[in-house]
Symmetry: C2
Subunit: 574 residues, 2 copies
Amino acid sequence: MTTLRVALCQLNPVVGDLDGNADKVLAALREAEAAGAHLAVYGELVLTGYPPEDLLLKPRFVADNRAALDRVAAGTGDCAALIGFVDQVAEHDRPDEPGERPLYNAVAVCAAGRVVDVYRKRLLPNYAVFDEERYFAPGTDTLVLHEVAGARVGVTVCEDAWSASGPIPRLAAGGAQVIANLNGSPYYEGRLAEREKMLAGRAAGADCPIVYVNQVGGQDELVFDGGSLVLDGAGQLVARGPQFVEEVRVVDLELPDREGTEPLRVVPVTAPRPVAGPALPLDVVPAPDRAEEVYRALVLGTHDYVTKNGFGDVVIGLSGGIDSTLVAAIAADALGPDRVHGVLMPSRYSSDHSVSDAEALAAALGIEHRIVPIEEAHKGFEAMLADSFAGLEPDLTEENLQSRIRGTVLMALSNKFGWLVLSTSNKSEAAVGYATLYGDTVGGYAVIKDVPKLLVYELCRWRNERAAAEGTGPVIPEHVLTKPPSAELRPDQRDDQSLPPYDELDPVLEAYVEQDRTAAQLVADGFDAALVARVARLVDRAEYKRRQSPPGPRVTPKAFGKDRRLPITNRYTG
Amino acid sequence: MTTLRVALCQLNPVVGDLDGNADKVLAALREAEAAGAHLAVYGELVLTGYPPEDLLLKPRFVADNRAALDRVAAGTGDCAALIGFVDQVAEHDRPDEPGERPLYNAVAVCAAGRVVDVYRKRLLPNYAVFDEERYFAPGTDTLVLHEVAGARVGVTVCEDAWSASGPIPRLAAGGAQVIANLNGSPYYEGRLAEREKMLAGRAAGADCPIVYVNQVGGQDELVFDGGSLVLDGAGQLVARGPQFVEEVRVVDLELPDREGTEPLRVVPVTAPRPVAGPALPLDVVPAPDRAEEVYRALVLGTHDYVTKNGFGDVVIGLSGGIDSTLVAAIAADALGPDRVHGVLMPSRYSSDHSVSDAEALAAALGIEHRIVPIEEAHKGFEAMLADSFAGLEPDLTEENLQSRIRGTVLMALSNKFGWLVLSTSNKSEAAVGYATLYGDTVGGYAVIKDVPKLLVYELCRWRNERAAAEGTGPVIPEHVLTKPPSAELRPDQRDDQSLPPYDELDPVLEAYVEQDRTAAQLVADGFDAALVARVARLVDRAEYKRRQSPPGPRVTPKAFGKDRRLPITNRYTG
């Protein structure tokens, strides 16, 4: 039996911030060392942040990432560190093809001031939001084990764990006492359980414990939830950190001695060293329920987009409707109410409750708000367009106009005060194109763009339940939760005049958008044929709008954006 | 010597239009048959259109593509046809993994009413605008030759030709008398010459003629230029069709008898049949010069985006500036002047010439135009924002406001009349973020988004030269070409107050954006350090704007969009 003290370094790097990320890695290393850890395990590509995307095509960026690694490695001592970085074949190894030096998604095994060895990720995801074959060559080096403080460690990266034909079974058969798996695994609802189930099977199948460390934080459309964990060799979950926060968690693993059936070469990294002080306990942080998990993902995504891009405050158009209400609550939770500004922009068609509900929300959240009625610009445009529209009936044009006036007001406030506009369109709307392009969709970050309408309600109810549990009053005004949804762009308008009810719409959207079922298949599945035909046509025709929408955090298994790359010009209607 | 009569079927399919594309393939086949062809060669994935993107993730789409193939194959007779389609491993070949049936980018070798054989593309591009490893498995079947009318043909697809370690040398060594290469190769300026050079080397290296057939037409951000061609076994260009038009070109190839040094199995497809009638000549259509080539690519891209997406007319904001002038000229050439509407939207800061130059343009092009002064909405917004902006100096906010009013007017006309808005922002502007988001950038299609400012001038001059050569008056008013660029959003504004002169800016942008040089490298290259620092910062900070811009045709080696996938949240400044 070997006791290995491991620090799970669940960090929140910023893509491209090589110096800042290196500092973060070193700070976590100091924390691990202070706790007497033998081994510090970081996230995938922690030095560049994940995913670095086309920064990887800049040779200088890759060189700078190596320099950052060398600085970090120089700071290591007798606590070994597994640090994600971008590796490149050295120039002298490719004398015949100087322009052709492949990159690898790699792990530096560091100790005693230097890079002792490098592991290169073998399985590269190139599906969903991942494009790793665009950048990386797969690792093909002969597998080895790394001896850290007397324990034989098998190093792997993310996707390596997801296939039974990946390296984990071979590392275990080679004599590994524990597998370290470095991840940049983005969140969606339910993903934590999927990961744990897969990892449990892999650990049990290999009869070898797994230490899984994930990145945390928001990066453009992705949220990384952390949730780093340890499974024992029977596949039992024995330790898990929290989701959505940075943390260095130090645990003691009791690793049985284990001979390999097909022994691998062992690379010595650090010498055996007894653990100092009392044994550190294993502990499983409880996972939140679905609504809380999604809500916290949205809060983290919003916080990180705003702050990593250098913004202070945000501004939100408050219509008194459920969508802008939820966005304001998330923003206040993410940034604090002092950094959130609400703008009420009533029109000649706005109900009284649109203003009173929004005012109640602003009061409950404690955010600044102002009222900017849009009538003057509305009249101005009507006069300007009178000649062009003479003799024509009002239609969607006049409705969109009001929405675009509001977007223009928000952008004027954004330009003047440097506030980031948070847009409030939800996934159901984005799917069927119900939002006005350059109107509702205006903004730098679309907080709920991947949240279907029914889930919007669920999140609002959960937020009020939390407030009740904390003994404060409701955050979401009750009337917002009960009134029928309306865009209020013409007299007595309601969403269900233009769209199917959301409890019919959302299930069709989930099947059509997230599961790639065709219209014909949905009818065969038992959905109403007219409903399916209508929804599928709306979704297909709205692709051009979605292509121009701001980024927002992914919380479902398939979000619009790089997760779903459908052509705009597309005549398939199957 | 074998004479093979080959039809190069350079078609313009629509992505997703399986029935329409199948009809197009059959119509071309009838044309080839009428000319007595032995073999009809089509473009890559002609049945689905290229690239079908995530339509490929819908199993039903793949099944429907197969049904379309079967219908086309049933229509073949003694003229063999090489038809691009999506192949999938049959269910009975994967009994153990029913969910895991890889797709292939494939060619159906069809004759006598059936699919005789299938070739699967072996090299899959996964760089630049290509994501083929997202969808396809590489072909690994043993190579064979296909005997068509007594000639041994080696079948390949696009990327297969681009590597010396691809299948062409082996097909030639196996005894191929000619290589057929099916392509979906998108255009950029200079690409035709690059292709010819590469193919000449490949043909000469293999001592084997190559028949190269390319798709033509616009598909979202890509333009396929056609330019199908034939090289002889010495690598000499012996036939080339025109770029930018659909065409079935039938040629007689005299193929020397040729024994393979490492013979491959030969699959019989059609029996020998003497050519009918007189020999068909080989002919090289001259390539246009650079300006004409780019202009025609923009015309085709615009025409196809508008028509394939079901629009009739387009509307353009005419500022009297060079960008909107060029876009209007392209639109009129693409769609005819009757389908183009111009809108002049003068503000309190507009010069007289902004109206007179735009009116001169409208008259020269023969397009309808109207004047919608923006003062009333401008005043309306000022009144609405007066409280919020009290005591603050005017700044960019007030400038952007005017641009957004114009965008809103264009969208109102679009909504009311069903006209597609063509936006007029150029690549230099998009690079440095000089365009107003939701203002200048408004539109369904951004005609010159990949055209740097200096090239905008070059294209305008070329268009006037063509008009002169055709004996008509200039299309672009001379004053537009000579006046200094200005956004006219404040008194006496000129672009060079905010930006470096375009003859300094464009070269830095090309190096930074298209060649992935970092700022530090550009300084080492000899560019002015202050200029580089300023430009690099502007480019990096404008990524969020570009992410929300409409699609537009790629004409340079690296366009913004899926060709350049940089994160928005990005702190790298190296």
